[in-house]
Subunit: 199 residues, 2 copies
């Protein structure tokens, strides 16, 4: 390389990809914008065609960037998928935290889930696909465990009972998964009542 480009080398693994604080360096800022566009494009493609449809060329075309930019910023496709999972999980964590701050967290939580299911169905499918992908690729499991730990932390504020916590967490994901396949929409009030009954 002519200039000493760092390419897709992820030294720290945490700060480089979509760091929360914006860098003042305008070079890095531009890279940050490119990475975000690539992650959003990747998520959009998973929504439309599944993980199998994620290719450098498709992602970069959707992001309006040249084909090589995906490899530059994220290296292999696996790295790109891992970053995308982290990206999606971070957004879900924000929504979860917002539910926790609500006056009626259980109602807020049920409402959010059902609402999301209704008008973001492809997104939810994509998230579960990435989640399941983590079961196969150990390297990206930590990214997936975020959802698990965040969900568990929220439910634990509702009940000290550990078994009830486990049941509620499993119930939530199982319900969504079943609803995705059966085609039915989960009922918000039924879900809320069920959670309260389980506590």
């Amino acid at each position: 390389m002519s200039g000493g480009a760092r390419g897709h080398v992820r030294e720290t693994g945490q700060d480089a990809a979509l760091a929360p604080e914006q860098p003042t360096d305008r070079r890095r800022a531009k890279g940050e914008r490119a990475r975000r566009a690539l992650l959003e494009a990747t998520l959009a493609i998973i929504e439309r065609e599944g993980i199998a449809g994620v290719t450098h060329r498709r992602v970069t075309r959707a992001a309006g960037l040249p084909a090589t930019s995906a490899a530059y910023h994220f290296g292999t496709i696996n790295d790109l998928l891992e970053a995308t999972l982290l990206f999606a999980d971070r957004e879900a964590a924000h929504a979860l935290a917002a539910c926790g701050r609500d006056a009626d967290p259980i109602a807020a939580f049920s409402g959010w889930l059902v609402q999301d299911f209704t008008d973001q169905r492809p997104r939810i499918i994509a998230e579960y696909e990435l989640f399941l992908y983590a079961a196969r690729v150990p390297a990206i499991r930590p990214s997936a465990r975020r959802w698990l730990s965040d969900l568990t932390a929220l439910v634990q504020t509702w009940t000290p009972d550990r078994r009830a916590t486990r049941v509620i967490c499993a119930y939530v994901d199982g319900l969504l998964l079943h609803a995705l396949v059966s085609g039915e929409t989960p009922d918000r009030h039924d879900m809320e009542a069920t959670i309260r009954a389980l506590i």
Copy 2:
């Protein structure tokens, strides 16, 4: 075509692919064997590399058949995946039915699930991947709904309460999904006790 081959045309959609009763016609019997080999090879590949890894060439190589045979017997890749989902679901249904005939169905069910999870982990991942695939491709949803209805039917023999049935079904799949990602093994006795508590 020289001989009037029917190719991958699925007229009836149900009887041709892996019909339960063996045909006496030895031509059909041979085709049946080829289809079964292809389905098992497909499942093995999904276990190892996921749905994204399923290609005509890989499947046929794993089955010891020429590349064109997959297209002949199943047509497109989507058709092959649908048949594979049906194939896997049928085996799961057998196991479910066996649990239902046990003297202690709940214990048998919990034992089977945890056992399967322990020494067939890749297979379970593959099944969930196919299951989720059905959420994206409406044409193959009926195949996936089989697991849902069979599971519901079994649980309904334990309790008349419809909400309890829904919770248990969702809990089971959510638990397995979480365990796949977290890396922990679900505890058989805890699961059994939880199900009994939910009834």
